[in-house]
Every structure is written in C-alpha cells, then in structure tokens.
Amino acid sequence: MSDPPPEACAADHCITCNDDGVPMTVLRLDAGAGLAECTDAEGGRSAVETALVDPVCEGDRILVHAGVAIASLPAEVGA
C-alpha cells in the first residue's frame, strides 16, 4: 500500500474525515490483491480497493474515499 498523498490530512482539512470523494484514474490493476494503482488530478498515487465498482479497467475514472472506490465516474467528469 502506498503512502497517502501529503494533503490527505493537512491541518485544516482531512479528506477522509470530511467525506470527500477524490476523482482518480486507474493506472494498473493488481487483480490478485483486489487493488488498483490510481492517480489523482495532482499526480498523487495510491493503491485503491476496487471491490465495490468492479470490473474496472486501466484508464477508468473512479471516485475514491478512504482508500476504496465507491463509484464509477463518466470519463473526464469531475466529482
């Protein structure tokens, strides 16, 4: 599991506590682990659990909260 993006829990804003959803793009799948390496708009990367939105493919856009993809997004649409 990669480290969280540095802004994830900054002093004035915790994106996990705050129910934020982060739009990310799937870069690479690790089907055996049920995880996908994903990137956000700023280039931050993290491993994301995809069980709730499977099947996903490389290039798919997903909404991520607390390390889990909670919804699929239409291509190139913000959340």
Binding site: M1, C17, N18, A51, L52, V77
Partner: protein
C-alpha cells in the same frame, strides 16, 4: 481535468443566483438545511451563501463525522490507545477531538502509540508489519466510510491478520434527520441531501422526508454550482407546492446507491440499539457495531473499554449548532476560548464543522459586525 472549472464558473453562478431570486416569495423566510459537512465546507469556501437572497437561510446539519462523536467515545479511544502493546490508528481530524481526558494527539505526546492513517487499509498494513503488536482501528464516519471499514475487516479475516481489530463509531444519516424533523425548536423548509453518503445508500432512504414530513430533498454535488442548483431545485419545489426527493448529483449518485457496498455493510455491521451523538443525545438505531460474525475483530470485545458517558462541556453549544438552532458565532466561546487551534467543541475541529468553516473563511469577523 475537464468540468471542474465549469462547476465553478462565476457567470453561471450569477445566473443561478438570479434563478434563485426569481423563485423566492418576498416576505417569506426559507430555511434549508445542508445535511453534509462537505456542503458546509464548500458553501463557506466559495461564498455560496453570499449569492443567496437574505431571506434564504442555509442551516448547517449534523453530517460532519467528527463533530458528532461524543466525549465518552473519545475517552474510550484514549484508554485503548494507552493499553499495553496497542498501536492505535485513526483518521487525522479525530486526533484533535477533545474528550474529558484530552485528545488522542495529547495521548500520543504522553507516550501512547497513536498513528494517523488515511484509510482502514493503511491500519491493516500496519498490523501486518507489526505482528507482535495489537493494532486497533478507530472507525468513524457515515455510510460513505463504513464500506471501507467493512471491506478491510473482510480482508483481515481472509488474510488471517489476528492482531487487527476495530472500534466502530460508524453512524447512519437517516435517524438523526428524523430526530431533527421531530425537534420542536427547529423549522425547516427543505434539505440539501448528502452527496457521497447517497453514493452508497442512494436517494431512496430519504423518501420519508417528503412522505412523512412534506419537505423537499435534493441530493447535491459539492461544487459551488451544484449547491446553487440544488438550492434552486428545493425552492422550485416549494414554489410549485410539491415535495419529492430529487437528485442533482446524477453524475455520481445512482438512485439505488451502491448495492455491493450495502451488502458488505450488512454482512459486517449491525445496528446498535442506540448511539450517543454529540449535542443530540441518544438516537435509536443510529450507530453501527460489528456483527456477531465479526465479533472476534471487535476491539470493544477484545479489550476492556471504560464506556463511561461524559456530558458535553457546559460552555460548548455544539448541540444547538448541529441542530441549526443557533449560528456558530452565537456560541459563547466561538472564536475566543474555542478556536481551530484549541477547540472545545467538535464543530471547531474538522473543516467540515460549521464553526471551523465560519472561522476559517472569514465569517467570524463579518458576522460579528452584523450581530
């Protein structure tokens, strides 16, 4: 990314404000509650309320996951963190929430092994890296976050991670809304429904609000134009004399939610008979605990947890703020004894909290002048 700037377009915002103005009756005062703290944060970050007519008031609801955790549960977490051999993990904001025994951050300073995590999966990773230690994940959040905890517990079970457990403080959104609607001191005209919670539960659970209470609900996205459009949709329903659940956030929220997430939550969690909410008291069937099938991963059963109820600080009026009865600046300690740096109440801890949103985005000075 496309379509982010578009949702923050100033001209479209002014057009939306004009539409809202055309929908209100002069002389009528409208109170619309945004349920989700994420909306509260966006409203003050982008100044959405400045675009509304003076007779349209946004009331900030109880949808901030950190703000509703009572002091006793914080103290329970601190006691667990001080347990010999425990690595205590939680989200960042939670570390600054004050209980009667201080904060988890202070417990860390006093020697407890308290670690901030970004997701429950990070806590599980810490457990796998420290097989000789007990790793406790202190779970908070509404239905947006509960599936992540549930999936992590399933993964811990599947991978045989025996030194991992969870203290669940997960809560559900519908019971407090019903409690608010039954509250005699609060009159609301409609609701801006929570966007990301609805990604999981869908729009259907909110149908009781128009059906039983005759008030409109609009599930909303989090960009400023989303919120303006949602306010307009609520006002349009009122102007047309109807009430229904409408979904403004269709690009993300399916009407039926995420069925797989609901299934995994039903497998791992069960409803508590009652759960205490900061400022709101005990609300029936509003909290989630681990189900019998996952009892072995329940930190409250694995360890001795004090479970002492602690009354909210007398000076703090988070309860009235969470119910929308008073505005943050009307609290006696707002901006003086209670600040984001040294919060007394939970609403000042998280940026989703109404008090912190007022304080951080300049409402403090402006509203004090108005008062």
């Amino acid at each position: 990314m496309k379509f982010v700037d578009e949702f923050r377009d100033a001209d479209l915002g002014r057009a939306g404000a004009g539409e809202i103005l055309s929908l209100v009756e002069p002389g009528r005062h409208y109170k619309v509650m945004e349920v989700c703290g994420g909306h509260t944060h966006s409203i003050y970050k982008y100044g959405v309320d400045d675009l509304l007519p003076s007779n349209v008031e946004l009331v900030h609801g109880p949808g901030c996951p950190v703000c509703v955790i009572p002091m006793g549960r914080v103290d329970d977490g601190i006691a667990l963190a001080h347990t010999e051999g425990v690595i205590f993990t939680c989200f960042g904001d939670m570390m600054r929430v004050p209980g009667a025994q201080g904060t988890l951050l202070e417990a860390k300073a006093a020697g407890a092994d308290v670690r901030m995590v970004y997701s429950p999966l990070d806590a599980l990773r810490i457990a796998k890296e420290n097989p000789d230690r007990e790793v406790v994940f202190y779970a908070i959040g509404f239905e947006t976050t509960a599936p992540s905890t549930a999936l992590t517990l399933k993964r811990a079970r599947a991978e045989g991670v025996a030194n991992f457990s969870c203290m669940s403080n997960h809560v559900t959104i519908v019971p407090p809304l019903r409690a608010l609607l039954e509250s005699p001191d609060l009159r609301l005209d409609g609701f801006i429904g929570p966007g990301h919670v609805s990604t999981i539960v869908g729009a259907r659970p909110f149908e009781f609000i128009p059906a039983d209470y005759g008030k409109p609900v609009v599930i909303s996205g989090f960009e400023p134009l989303d919120i303006l459009q949602s306010v307009a949709m609520v006002l349009r329903q009122l102007a047309e004399g109807r009430c229904a659940v409408e979904n403004q956030y269709t690009r993300v929220v399916p009407y039926d939610g995420n069925l797989r997430a609901l299934e995994v939550m039903a497998e791992v969690f069960e409803l508590r008979p009652h759960f205490e909410w900061r400022g709101l008291g005990f609300i029936s069937h509003s909290g989630l605990r681990l189900s019998e099938a996952y009892a072995d991963l329940d930190a409250e059963r694995r360890f001795s947890v004090p479970g002492v109820r602690v009354a909210d600080p007398k000076a703090c009026q988070c309860g009235e703020v969470l119910k929308g009865v008073i505005k943050p600046w009307e609290c006696k300690v707002f901006g003086t004894a209670c600040t984001p740096e040294r919060p007394i109440g939970t609403c000042m801890v998280s940026s989703e909290g109404a008090c912190a949103a007022y304080y951080n985005y300049g409402r403090f000075a402006r509203d004090r002048e108005v008062v």
